[in-house]
């Protein structure tokens, strides 16, 4: 039976309309038409602007009648329009009083903040139509994807190996040989690769629609146009980036994205999104007005008393995240991505902004963070904070967690980088970082710590050991952008070298780093390309390059087969050893009286760890006798790290049980393939009492019964 409220009550220029439903916000297909709903607390009037897809001029502009204005919500149903062929925007009228925070200008056609699809950049880098002043248009999504039995994986967070990646960067290089390079579909094509590598979670750099063509600058070194490649510049929070979809030109990016998620899930791989709520693409008062500024500037942005933009994001504006209206937008958005796209987790860019109040002051109990932590729909989804912002707030270890939030552990990154390059005075901190940073996450457990040494931001793993300094001139900012405290070491020569000793040392340091990452308690993450030693030639902030700097090189992957093999095996090693993945903090206790505590520290002599400042040799034993997981009970792992520039003999403790003897799983001092042994095939260590570690090397033993 048809609903009795699906009839128009008014007509405007031949278009039949009626008062709309205020909920849900955005454009929704309803019987006979499309319902439009949008809010603004300071606007005086709102006009719906409808276009045929691709047309520069609107087909009609329908002022939303006063009787369709409920509270601060403008809502209207328009009948007999084809949601397949229209796109829309809004004009808002209201005061132009920048000093009071109001910047209304009804000459501008604005995006719907709840737009589920956004047109205008349907194909990556498609030429700009100079005759179209408002190219970004909201579109109506038919959200009826057939998930055909997709199941959420709910992988325990401690069992994840997170692979941070960029959708376009992963397959755009010709060597990828993908059918649809640079797209969601191509990630689906490469699932066999991800499985071979062994990662079980991909964290996608921003996929919300952004304008890759927003930069006016060129590369000063070669004149190439600079492109917003990374995409930390959101146009709309509900719309997947069309230019990352092979089907974007047909408006089917949503289906393509979902097909990718479905296929990843079917292969046991979770999908996390890097979400950027701390700012938008609109920048400061000199930036473009595409949506929020023109709809309700004083609500969406943090402003000072003169109406100027506060800038805690480093990009010109800051979202007013703890305004109730903005808070709802963020919550609605995340719920939408979980419900509609089956997303498993989120990493929040500059998340400390989400804990600031409307004046920009840090809150002790931020309502938004609490709401996300306790939200019913987000209940099983992983929430990860980049626990700092560009306004000086640094909350690693103190981010308001509500028992839910994990953090990118920036202190882990810095300590392990320094350790691997043999910095002294760091051993005590390294001890904390390797066991899940209990000094930072005492009550939260090791799984609060997302451990990483590299990510999209900063040096790649290769460049960490090939460059002392950043080399960012190509970014067009006079090398002033990007971090200066990289804790990197070039091993003697800045950049590429033919010196075989330096090359071999770099290879070993990369192996040391990834080994330490994979034997640390907490959740490991690394960046795509590190598995073959991708170089960005010392550029540590490649946000603006649509080229080889950011493209995964599949040919190089083949050439670096030894390093790739090492990565693959060390990931497999982590997965095979549950003592490396303990949720609570290890305490050095032997609760069950087995004779073997869960964690013990050692040095070049067993039971004798040296925590003094100059020391560069450390070992530890993880023993599963006390483990809560049954599969860990017989598991014992011994890790030795010699960060000295000379070889050192390590005496060994006796394995825990009678009949168990040490076997060598990893020795980064050896050449491939003896640097790592496939799980289960570890050879017996001939001398069970001691082993010599090469200079700057890591050895990992496993206890196995003969």
């Amino acid at each position: 039976m048809k609903r009795i409220d699906t009839y128009p009550t008014h007509e405007y220029e031949g278009y039949k309309i009626s008062q709309g439903k205020p909920f849900p916000f955005g454009a929704t297909m309803v019987p006979g038409g499309v319902n439009f709903s949008i809010y603004s607390s300071n606007a005086t009037a709102c006009t719906l602007v409808l276009y045929e897809i691709g047309a520069n001029e609107p087909m009609v502009e329908i002022p939303i009648l006063e009787e369709f204005h409920i509270g601060n919500v403008f809502c209207m149903t328009v009948y007999d329009i084809d949601p397949d062929t229209i796109e829309y925007g809004y004009r808002f009228d209201g005061p132009w009083e920048p000093e009071k925070g109001h910047r209304f200008d009804d000459s501008i056609v604005l995006l719907d903040p709840y737009a589920k699809l956004i047109g205008g950049r349907d194909v990556w880098r498609q030429p700009i139509d100079v005759n179209n002043p408002y190219p970004f248009r909201s579109r109506v999504l038919r959200a009826d994807f057939d998930w055909a039995g997709d199941r959420r994986l709910h992988t325990p967070i401690e069992d994840l190996v997170i692979y941070e990646m960029h959708v376009r960067g992963f397959t755009q290089h010709p060597s990828s040989e993908a059918d649809n390079p640079g797209t969601y579909a191509a990630i689906r094509e490469k699932i066999p690769y991800l499985k071979d590598l062994g990662v079980n979670c991909v964290e996608l750099m921003p996929v919300f629609e952004f304008d890759e063509l927003e930069y006016p600058r060129d590369n000063p070194l070669n004149g190439d146009q600079l492109i917003n490649f990374w995409g930390y510049s959101t146009l709309g929070f509900f719309a997947p980036k069309a230019g990352f979809a092979a089907s974007g030109r047909y408006g089917m990016q949503s289906d393509e994205f979902k097909a990718m998620v479905k296929a990843l899930h079917a292969n046991g791989i979770e999908v996390f999104l890097d979400v950027v709520f701390n700012h938008t693409n609109e920048g400061n008062d000199e930036g473009p007005t595409t949506s929020f500024r023109g709809i309700d500037n004083a609500v969406y942005y943090l402003l000072d008393e003169d109406g100027d933009y506060l800038n805690f994001s480093g990009t010109g504006n800051t979202m007013n995240c703890n305004h109730p209206v903005v808070r709802e937008l963020v919550i609605d958005c995340l719920r939408y991505w979980v419900a509609e796209y089956h997303i498993d987790g989120f990493r929040f860019d500059l998340a400390s902004v989400l804990g600031r109040d409307q004046e920009g002051e840090p809150l002790s109990n931020p309502p938004l963070l609490e709401a996300l932590a306790l939200d019913p729909l987000l209940a099983h989804c992983k929430l990860i904070a980049e626990a700092w912002d560009a306004g000086g707030l640094y909350q690693v270890g103190t981010f308001p967690a509500y028992g839910r939030w994990a953090e990118w552990n920036g202190k882990y990154r810095d300590a392990i980088r320094r350790w691997v390059k043999s910095d002294q005075g760091i051993v005590r901190e390294v001890g904390q970082r390797i066991i899940g940073s209990p000094d930072l996450y005492g009550t939260r457990g090791s799984t609060a710590s997302i451990n990483f040494i590299t990510c999209h931001d900063g040096f790649t793993l290769h460049d960490l050991f090939a460059y002392n300094e950043k080399h960012n001139l190509a970014n067009g900012e006079d090398n002033l952008d990007g971090a200066n405290d990289n804790y990197s070491w070039n091993c003697g020569v800045e950049g590429p070298t033919d010196d075989p000793e330096i090359a071999a040392l770099r290879e070993r340091l990369m192996r040391n780093a990834i080994t330490i990452l994979m034997v640390s308690q907490g959740v490991p993450m690394f960046f795509m390309g590190d598995e073959y030693g991708h170089t960005k030639f010392g550029n540590n902030n490649t946000y603006c390059h649509d080229n080889e700097l950011n493209y995964f090189d599949w040919e190089k992957l083949k050439e670096s087969a030894d390093l790739y093999r090492f990565f693959k095996q060390v990931i497999a090693f982590r997965k095979a050893h549950p003592v490396l993945r303990v949720r609570r903090h290890l305490a050095g206790e032997d609760y069950v009286g087995s004779g073997c505590p869960d964690l013990t520290w050692h040095g070049v002599r067993p039971w004798d760890a040296d925590w003094s400042g100059w020391n560069l040799a450390l070992a530890f034993m993880l023993c599963g006798e006390n483990a809560a997981r049954r599969d860990a009970l017989r598991d014992v792992v011994y890790v030795m790290m010699n960060m000295y520039w000379e070889p050192q003999v390590f005496e060994l403790p006796a394995p825990t049980r009678n009949g168990v003897r040490w076997h060598v799983a990893i020795n980064t001092g050896n050449d491939s393939p003896d640097d790592i042994c496939p799980v289960g095939q570890e050879p017996l260590l001939e001398d069970q009492r001691s082993i010599q570690l090469a200079a700057r090397s890591v050895v990992v033993l496993v206890g196995k019964a003969e």
């Binding site: 949601p83 397949d84 092979a246 393509e256």
Partner: protein, 116 residues
């Protein structure tokens, strides 16, 4: 949109020429609905289809469901490269039996007789 209906043995061949989108899909639906009966065996020849919109694809999937509900079967043939690619990247192709030519499609239909 031109729609032509012929028969080959037990099978119905529906030849579509033009774009499949929200404006043409209802016509296709009308034409096909008349051909859907128990154990119907339908071949959709799309050699002349130049564009398949998001809504068009959804209509095709709904038709497929109707045919399956009637214990019949439906195959698609003659997809152009762009159309095939869109169906592939969006995951729609996994719901359909797709063949290159009418002959292959008819053979596929008879191979599957009784498979439901």
């Amino acid at each position: 949109m031109q729609i032509e209906i012929t028969h080959s043995g037990e099978s119905t061949i529906i030849t579509l020429v033009g774009d499949i989108d929200s404006s043409s899909a209802p016509d296709i639906q009308d034409a096909l609905s008349k051909q859907i009966h128990e154990n119907a065996s339908i071949l959709l020849d799309m050699t002349g289809v130049t564009f398949l919109s998001s809504f068009g694809l959804r209509h095709l999937l709904l038709l497929k469901r109707e045919v399956v509900d009637a214990k019949g079967q439906i195959v698609l043939v003659g997809l152009s490269d762009p159309v095939a690619n869109v169906m592939e990247v969006t995951g729609f192709s996994s719901f359909f039996d797709i063949y290159e030519t009418v002959e292959d499609g008819l053979a596929g239909l008879s191979d599957n007789q009784g498979a439901w």
